[in-house]
C-alpha cells in the first residue's frame, strides 16, 4: 500500500480514537477499557494470515500459539465486557 495512504489512515484513526472516548464518566472506565481490549484481539486476523503462509514447523508452531492467544483475547474480552454491562442494565430499572 502507498505509504502516504497508510500515514493518512493512521493519523485519522488517532483523531477518531481520541474523539470517541474524550468524555466518559469514571463509571464506564472499566467496561470501556475491557471493550477496547477485546477489539485489539482482532490481531487474530493477522495470526490466521501468518499461519496460512507458514512454511516451517517453527513458523507454524508460533502462529498456532498466536491464534490461541488472540482468540482468548478477542472472545474472552467481549464476553467479560458483556457480563459487566449486563449488570449496569439491571440497575437502571
Amino acid at each position: 500500500m502507498e505509504p502516504m495512504a497508510i500515514v493518512s489512515i493512521f493519523v485519522l484513526a488517532v483523531f477518531v480514537g481520541f474523539e470517541v472516548v474524550s468524555k466518559v464518566s469514571s463509571t464506564l472506565h472499566t467496561p470501556l477499557m475491557s471493550g477496547a481490549n477485546a477489539i485489539h484481539g482482532v490481531i487474530l486476523v493477522g495470526a490466521i494470515i501468518v499461519a496460512d503462509h507458514s512454511e516451517t514447523n517453527l513458523e507454524l508452531g508460533l502462529a498456532v500459539a498466536a491464534i490461541v492467544l488472540a482468540t482468548i483475547n478477542m472472545v474472552g474480552g467481549f464476553v467479560v465486557t458483556d457480563r459487566m454491562l449486563e449488570m449496569f442494565k439491571g440497575n437502571k430499572k
Partner: protein, 463 residues
Amino acid sequence: MSRTLYDLVGLAAGVAFILALKGLSHPKTARRGNLIGAFGATLATLVVFFYANPGSSLPLNNLGWILGAMVVGLLVGVPAARKVQMTQMPQLVALFNGVGGGAAALVAIVEYLHLGPKATTAEVVFTVFTVIVGCVSFSGSIITFLKLQELMTTRPVIFPAGRFIIAATLVSVIGVGGWVVSALGTTPLLVLAALSLLFGVLFVLPVGGADVPIVISLLNAFTGLTVAASGYVLDSVLLIIAGTLVGASGTILTRLMAEAMGRSLFGTLFGAFTAKPQDNSGAVEDRPVRSGSPDDVAILLNYARRVVIVPGFGLAVAQAQHTVRELADMMIAKGIDVAYGIHPVAGRMPGHMNVLLAEANVPYEQLAEMDEVNPTFGQTDVAIVIGANDVVNPAAQTSPGCPIYGMPILEVANAANIIFLKRSMRPGFAGIENELLYDPKTMLLFGDAKASLTKVVSALKAL
C-alpha cells in the same frame, strides 16, 4: 473473493469498532456498543477464510491447525470470562490484554521468519516495534495480574539501583532493536524478545498496587499500537484502523483514569523511585484504637439523620453487597437519609465498585460520586467505611511522599462519627497506615464485613 470485497468487509469491521467505542462511552448504549464490536470482530475473522493472499490459495493452508487453535482459544477464553468472580475481573482483563500483546509479538516474529532477507527496512522496523511493545505488554500484564491476584506483594518493588537497571535494560532493548534492523537474523530477534520481556517485568514491578489499573490501561493502548504496526507489515487496513483506534482511545482513557485518581502518569510509573521512604511506619502501630460492638453501631445509626456508606473492595470480597443493601433499606425505612459514597477507584479499577453494587441491585440514585458526596460530609452524622481504606486515607492529602499522595479521597473525617468495618488492622491495598483509624471519633468493628453487617442489621431491628 476479490481484494476489493475483502477490503470493504475490513472497512465495515473498522467502522463497527468505531461505533463500538462510541457506544461504550455512554451508559445507555454501552452494551449494544460492545455487541457491535463483537460483530465487527467476528466479521473480520470470518472473511479471512474466504480470501486467498497473493501466493496462497483457498482453502487456507494449515486450515486444520488454524481451526483447532481457535477452538482451544475459545475453550480457554469463554469459560474464563463467564466464570470469573466480578471481584477478580480486573486481573482477567489484564491477562486478556497480555495474551493479545503476546499474540501480536508472535505474529511479528513469524512474519519476520517468513520474509527473511526479502523484508524491506520499513517492515523490519515495524516488526522490531511490535516485538518490543508486544513483549513488554505481555510480561507487564502478567505482573499486574500477579499483583491484583495478590500472588505477589502489592507494594512497589524497589531494588538497589533499580532505575539504573531499568534504564540499562531499555537502552539495550533499543540497541538490540537497531542490531536487528541492521544485521537481520533470527538470533538478534529472539534476544530482542527476551530483553523486552525482562523490561516489561522491571517496568511494572515498581508500580504500587493502587496504581496498577492505570498501567493496565497503558499496556492496553500499547497492545493496540502493536496491532496497528502488524497491520502495516501484513498489508491489512483493518488491523491498522483497529489497532490505532485502541492505541488512541486507550491513551486518552489512561489519562482520564490517572486524573480520576489525581495522579500524573509519570508519578504512577516512576513515583516509587522518587518517593521518600516512610519513617513513621513503626511508631503508629501500638497506639490504641476504639473498637465497638454491633449494638453500639446500631444505636449510632438509629439516631443519625444522615448516613454515608463508603464501600470498598473488602465489601466485595466478603460478598456483603446484599447485606449492606438490606441495612440501607432499613435505615431508609426509618427516615434516615442514606447515600453510598463511591470513590472513582473504589474496588480495583475505576468503575469497578459500580459494577459490584449493580450486581446487588443497589438503586442507581443512591450512588453518589466523590465530588457530589464530599461537600456533604460536614452534615453527615455517620460515615460507615466498609472494607475500604486507601480511598479515605487522609495521608493522601497530608503526607507528601506517601505512594497515594495527591489522590483525591472521600473526606469522611468531616463526618461527626466514623465507623470502620475491617477484618484487621492490616493496611489497605497500597500498604499505607491510615491515621483515621486512631481518630477519637472513629469506632472500629472488627470481623468479616458480611458477618458484622448481619449483626448490625439484627441489632438495628431489635431497637
